[in-house]
């Protein structure tokens, strides 16, 4: 009813709209974020607290273990194996050269293409950080210390090892005069039969049943070569009379030749007169030598090079003693014992790498506007593939680049090679298969479908075995191919089949209107596919494709089953083949996991950047 309206029922807004105000403080900024995301409700708050506690507990346990007692030496003592497998020691410089090339190219790319290339460059940098570390590989590696326990109950063991010419080895004898001293200095380093025995003695010492000071232990140490001839020590005497010299002493030698040596340990009964009196406890610490799990293991590992190991009655082998560090060390010790050795090895190569990278970056930045520079960098990448392969493989009979057969390539080098070749080769193949499967020609369509479905229906491991054995059988030309190259073929075919399905998914989401528009403009089918359909389809499935490449990267570890030692395979061989590293499986596999994670993460980071990068994501339309 018209008459009922009052003045308050009419309104006209002022000409100017009011200025925008800031939102309330509790709904923006970090505080607002916390409230909105972590503590939005009671159940959310409880979940947050519980999960945070779990994560903190896990992190704390892991960190304290890795700082206080983990022995990362298993990796940095074996850097050469981990990075390059059995690649010839003398030829390691080639890997350094390759690493240098890649670093320079990455630097240039970062300079030229800026942000987009950053993900790629992070990936390359990480790989390099590990690859570049190679230099020292040929250098001598201080091995973990070995302990020989001398005790009254049994005659001491001799100790067999391999040494190289010019290598310095030292033996320290350390009498145990009281329980605490022994506990502090030694107990932490040993877990094993010897340690168990020692802890029983230590308990007796503490209980007062055993007085270490009462013992008069005298021992003669001699270092014998393969023929049993004693060597003369550079420092220290060959006899340790621990009763007379409770501080102990040391012997050191510079080895005259490559080969087997025996540290002979004898109780010296001439010092204390009667055999019964000459008893007591001591550790003899052996440093800087290569040791073995057993006589057989020694023969197996080194007989080719140095002949059979000397047969010694009561030889101590590493198997009988496990050298796991079980104590706790301080953070300072962690750095000095575990971190510094690694850094001292990689600091120089890192420096050179960084310098190269920086130079590349500067040149790239200065030249980014020049077409020539951009073309050169692109060409450099394209050329780098064959060049790198030639440098790494070399030629039969060449002096500067002697052949290094791919069968000895291993470690991270092989992993990355398999992955890169797999990705680069399977990409065009996969796209072709996907297009073929949508072809209007039935013969092509069915062939592609048959291939895709067959490969997808078979586990990768089967395909690798086939690549190793069945393929050469059918196709004799292939039997001459290196095993590593056959594996690359297997991995490529496998990856291509999955890639084809991913790409097909992308092709399906392209609206038909796009193809019609292209046709209406006069583009022929090939142009319409390459210029209009594929760019959009591929962009849409970048996450799926990268995900698949990441699993390809991880799946390369399966080539171990056909006798190639990539990253996982070689590390497995280190920790199972060399007795002294057997206790360090945890550390070794954690490092591998970290390497895999970092590279995989870098790959998915690249994918995210590619997706977000300029060229107009499809989702906008």
């Amino acid at each position: 009813m018209r008459g009922r309206y009052t003045a308050s029922d009419f309104y006209v807004a002022p000409l100017e709209s009011p200025p925008s105000r800031r939102p309330p403080i509790t709904s923006v900024g970090p505080l607002g974020w916390l409230r909105a995301n972590l503590f939005s409700s009671k159940s959310n708050s409880i979940a947050t607290v519980i999960m945070a506690a779990l994560i903190l507990w896990f992190l704390w346990s892991f960190l304290s273990w890795s700082v206080r007692s983990a022995q990362w030496g298993v990796i940095y003592h074996n850097l050469r194996l981990v990075t390059s497998g059995l690649y010839d020691r003398q030829e390691i410089w080639r890997m350094e050269l390759v690493a240098g090339i890649l670093v320079l190219l990455s630097g240039l790319s970062l300079g030229v293409w800026g942000r987009l290339a950053r993900g790629v460059f992070i990936a390359v940098l990480v790989i390099l950080l590990i690859l570049v570390v190679v230099p020292v590989l040929a250098a001598r590696v201080p091995e973990p210390t070995i302990y020989v326990l001398v005790e009254p109950q049994r005659p001491p063991s001799d100790f067999v090892f391999v040494g190289l010419k010019g290598q310095e080895v030292s033996f320290t004898f350390d009498p145990l005069t009281d329980a605490q001293d022994a506990d502090e200095r030694l107990l932490g380093f040993v877990e094993s039969q010897a340690r168990t025995e020692w802890s029983i003695r230590a308990a007796e010492v503490r209980a007062g049943n055993l007085d270490l000071g009462q013992h008069n232990l005298a021992v003669t140490l001699r270092l014998l070569d393969r023929q049993g001839r004693p060597l003369t020590s550079q420092a220290g005497s060959a006899v340790g009379d621990f009763a007379a010299d409770p501080a102990g002493g040391a012997l050191s030698y510079t080895l005259p030749a490559d080969g087997w040596y025996v540290l002979e340990v004898r109780r010296d009964d001439s010092v204390n007169g009667s055999v019964g009196d000459n008893a007591g406890y001591a550790w003899i610490r052996v440093q800087g030598v290569e040791t073995f799990a057993s006589q057989e293991a020694a023969a197996q590992a080194r007989a080719d090079q140095f002949g059979q190991p000397p047969a010694v009655e009561r030889a101590l082998f590493a198997d009988e003693n496990s050298y796991r560090f079980e104590g706790a060390r301080s953070v300072a010790e962690f750095f000095s014992l575990q971190v510094t050795p690694l850094f001292s090895r990689i600091v120089m190569p890192c420096f050179v790498g960084a310098a190269l990278f920086f130079n590349g970056w500067v040149i790239g930045t200065l030249g980014r506007r020049e077409k020539i520079v951009r073309r050169a960098v692109l060409g450099g990448w394209i050329l780098s593939a064959p060049v790198i392969l030639i440098i790494l493989r070399g030629f039969e009979g060449s002096r500067t680049l002697p052949l290094v057969p791919t069968s000895v390539w291993g470690g991270l080098l092989l992993t990355i090679l398999l992955t890169v070749v797999g990705i680069v080769a399977s990409f065009p193949l996969g796209v072709a298969l996907a297009l073929g499967r949508r072809s209007e020609l039935p013969a092509i369509k069915w062939t592609c479908t048959l291939f895709i479905e067959t490969v997808r229906g078979v586990p990768l491991i089967t395909i690798l075995f086939m690549a190793k054995q069945i393929v050469p059988f059918f196709w004799s030309a292939l039997s001459g191919l290196d095993l590593a190259i056959r594996m690359m073929i297997g991995v490529t075919l496998f990856s291509a089949a999955y890639l084809a399905e991913n790409v097909r998914g992308g092709l399906q989401i392209i609206p038909y209107g796009q193809i019609e528009a292209a046709r209406a403009l006069g583009l022929n089918p090939a142009l319409a596919t390459t210029l209009i359909v594929l760019p959009q389809a591929l962009r849409a499935v970048i996450p799926a494709i990268v995900g698949q490449f990441i699993s390809l990267f991880k799946d390369t570890s399966l080539v171990a089953v056909v006798g190639l030692f990539e990253l996982v395979g070689i590390v497995d061989r280190i920790v199972s083949g060399q007795a002294i590293y057997r206790p360090y499986q945890r550390e070794a596999y954690i490092v591998i996991a970290i390497i895999y994670f970092v590279i995989s993460y870098a790959m998915s980071d690249v994918s995210r950047r590619l997706e977000q990068s300029g060229a107009g994501s499809i989702r906008r339309l």
């Binding site: 403009l521 022929n524 760019p535 906008r620």
Partner: protein, 249 residues
Amino acid sequence: MAETKSSEPIISCRGVNKWFGNFHVLKDVDLDVMPQEVVVIIGPSGSGKSTFIRCINRLEEHQEGQIIVDGIELSHDVRNIAAIRSEIGMVFQQFNLFPHLTVLDNIALAPRYVRRQPRRTAEETALQLLERVGIPEQARKYPGQLSGGQQQRVAIARALAMQPKIMLFDEPTSALDPEMIKEVLDVMKQLAQSGMTMLVVTHEMGFAREVADRIVLFDEGRIVEMGTPEHFFTNPQHERTKLFLSQIL
């Protein structure tokens, strides 16, 4: 008949029939379009308007009858199709711009790859066309960043870049918000004034009345009535036409 004299039709359709499966979608369509003529096609939804104009650049194939465009008969000969398509520009209801390319690249693409023009030439032409449709400042953007009206104008520019003799429009303003319709129609009017041969499917009666030389009414796959705008709006003959006009006006 390599060149067309202005007295001869540039598009000539004789007894065109088409079926989708068993469904008879075009029935004996006869239509001649003269050079520089603007023909507006109207008709209820599903009457075959789109199918008909898509036959003209062979996005659809007719099964019976004859379509001759600029002296070339449409057949299965692939070279003929390519030749025809580069003579005819087409603008779609849904724009169908290429979302992964910038506006400039959308327009320059076909000249570069079909006409093999150097990049620079193609881009200069593209910029001129953008100027002509009134959005030169959007050249570096992606289609997804433009409004509907702007996108449709880019689509027109893209079709013009191939320098076609004929332009086909399939409901170019139907997917647009009301406030953007005018800017697209203005471009089309200007195009008509410049002498372009145009075949336009639209429901914009104002445009038809003002710009069309002839109006064609489709119903159930056949042409029901054909004539000048005055004829249509003042003196329609067929019952179907009267009914249709009464619903739309």
